[in-house]
């Protein structure tokens, strides 16, 4: 233990663990290495990833280092229901996207990114809005994961923060650069098995070492009524609701998800995403329980830093062997997400930027591969630099989150409604972002009719979120009914109430505004788009034959 109460490994031990992890992962990728990679394999593994590999990859990708820390923080802060209000909604992000994913695959069976589909549907401006939001999201994610590696290494060893950041960056790049997405998916499986096995061991180990269930039940008396309740309003409004609002936005805005929707065999999309939902929920909620245990035993996070909770609990109650397992757990989770982000960024640059905008009608596969690999190197360098400077990413996160919220309705409706135009897409996102900024940063005085207007817009946003979720699974009529009922309930109960939850109101405003503008402009349009054109316009750059499931019709399209 060091003076802060953490288990302290020697430099040699940590370097050995890192070398074993990244060296082992690199050796794994040699098993799938090809003499000549093609663009389809590099971007979406040839569209034929199986159920097992797909589910493992989706689960591992969605679990990043912050998942554990944030779930534990939620457990510590909000008590019994806290971990659920982090992990459950995060899991639903995977679940609720798959009905739409099947529609994306039906429209663009040869696709690699959602941006390509939107380019075929609308053109460059809409596509680039989506691509930019994807790029920003992946760079933030890269930076956060590299930062987590630096923090972990510096806390558990004499090595510096920068050393941890650099080792993680170089390690991830080394095993992803050659085979791209194929390497990401293949290594995700191994990383997930390690991650799950360690979680299965560590959670009960901490529970019983900390005194077992008896001590935990005694700890309930230390909690406030809200913390001790499974139905805490505090937890729902401050943790659950903002996450619930983001369910579709995170999924639509994240190329790591779209990429897997295009990579998994079409008939396995449902099973893959349902399994990943369960896997993500179980691991993240389970590790979040360590935060609840910390609250129950009365532990105070060192330096008031919530991210210290899990390492602190593991260091306090378990032997150094378990701390080493925890180290591998975090490195595995952040690496699996970082390699997916590198693959996502390279695919966006290859397909959306080079393939659809720079190369004209004749993209060269060799140049495309070069673009992908250079992107990976540049993105890693950018991630390392941003992480080393420990930049405050809050403002960036706020904007990216809002942008994702603003594009949800235009993206989804563009795949079902043939009258939506490029102008409707673009203007709806632009106006939604403007109104989001007004609400989020209170650029207008939020009183009287002004705040009421924003509450009405936010109510529409709430209705859109629920309506789209129901639409995905049960079709248009059910979606419209659910949306209408939600709107009614929101107008009655949320007006005069939402103003106290500024972040939530601003997020919902983005959804509501883009929906209203996009719908209004579409109703004025006389255009009729032929959806079959998307299949013709989104092609394989390698001329690979793909499975034909054109007889399939997803629920939402019925």
């Amino acid at each position: 233990m060091n003076e802060n109460g953490f288990t302290q490994f020697s430099t040699a031990t940590v370097l050995l663990l890192l070398a074993a992890f990244y060296g082992g992962t690199y050796l794994l990728t040699l098993l799938i290495k090809k003499d000549k990679e093609d663009t389809s394999g590099f971007m979406v593994a040839g569209h034929h990833v199986g159920f097992g590999m797909g589910a493992a990859s989706m689960t591992a990708t969605w679990i990043w280092a912050a998942s554990f820390y944030a779930a534990a923080t939620s457990g510590y802060k909000y008590g019994v229901s806290g971990p659920i209000h982090y992990g459950f909604w995060g899991a639903l992000m995977i679940l609720f996207i798959y009905p739409f994913g099947r529609r994306f695959r039906q429209l663009a069976p040869n696709g690699h990114t959602l941006g390509e589909l939107i380019h075929a549907r609308h053109g460059s401006s809409s596509q680039l809005i989506l691509a930019v939001s994807n790029i920003m999201g992946s760079i933030i994610s890269l930076m956060v994961n590299f930062t987590a590696a630096g923090a972990l290494v510096s806390v558990l060893s004499p090595l510096s923060f920068e050393t941890g950041v650099i080792v993680a960056g170089v390690g991830v790049l080394a095993y992803t650069l050659t085979s791209g997405f194929r390497a990401s998916v293949f290594t995700d499986f191994a990383q997930l098995v390690a991650l799950m096995a360690i979680a299965i061991i560590i959670i009960p180990a901490v529970l019983f070492s900390a005194g077992g269930t008896e001590v935990m039940v005694e700890g309930l008396s230390r909690m406030t009524d809200e913390q001790a309740s499974l139905f805490s309003v505090d937890a729902i409004m401050n943790q659950g609701a903002p996450f619930f609002v983001a369910v579709l936005a995170y999924a639509i805005g994240n190329q790591t998800i779209s990429q897997r929707l295009f990579a998994v065999r079409e008939k396995h999309i449902k099973s893959t995403f349902v399994t990943a939902t369960l896997g993500y929920g179980a691991i993240v909620i389970g590790l979040g329980m360590i935060g609840l245990m910390a609250l129950s035993v009365g532990m105070t996070p060192i330096d008031g830093e919530m991210n210290n909770l899990i390492p602190q609990m593991v260091s306090t109650y378990l032997s150094p062997f378990f701390v080493a397992l925890f180290f591998v757990l975090v490195i595995g989770s952040l690496s699996s997400t970082a390699d997916s982000d590198l693959s996502a960024l390279s695919t966006i640059m290859m397909a959306d930027v080079y393939g659809k905008n720079l190369a004209g009608d004749n993209p060269n596969p060799k140049t495309m591969m070069l673009v992908g690999r250079i992107t990976m190197i540049v993105a890693t360098a950018a991630g390392l630099i941003f992480a080393s400077f420990s930049l405050d990413i809050l403002v960036m996160l706020v904007f990216v989150g809002a942008l994702w919220g603003a594009i949800v309705f235009p993206v989804i409706v563009s795949c079902y409604w043939d009258r939506v135009t490029n102008a409707a897409f673009t203007w709806s996102v632009a106006i939604a972002m403007a109104l989001f900024c007004i609400a989020r940063f209170e650029l207008l005085e939020m009183t009287g009719l002004t705040v009421l207007a924003f509450e009405v817009l936010a109510s529409v946003g709430g209705a859109v979120v629920i309506g789209l979720m129901v639409f995905g699974f049960f079709g248009r009529t059910a979606g419209l009914v659910a949306g209408s009922l939600t709107l009614l309930a929101m107008l009655v109960y949320a007006t005069g109430f939402l103003r106290d939850y500024g972040v939530l109101m601003a997020s919902l405003t983005a959804y509501g505004t883009s929906t209203i503008v996009c719908t209004a402009m579409t109703l004025f349009s006389k255009e009729k788009f032929d959806f079959d054109l998307i299949r013709q316009r989104v092609g394989s750059y390698d001329e690979v034959e793909i499975e034909d499931h054109s007889d399939y019709l997803p629920e939402g399209a019925k």
């Binding site: 199986g50 097992g52 293949f186 959670i203 269930t213």
Partner: protein, 44 residues
């Protein structure tokens, strides 16, 4: 005692569920590998 059981189950159900999902994924990957060998396709 009942409280302890419920609270213990509430915490331990998640690693148990994780174990179940791990088993499902490993089984499915084994099937993926077999199919890849049978059809002479790449696993990924």
């Amino acid at each position: 005692m009942t409280n302890e059981l419920v609270y213990g189950a509430y915490i331990l159900v998640w690693p148990a569920l994780t174990l179940g999902v791990l088993a499902v994924i490993c089984g499915a990957v084994v099937r993926d590998v077999r199919r890849a060998r049978k059809t002479d396709e790449d696993l990924v």
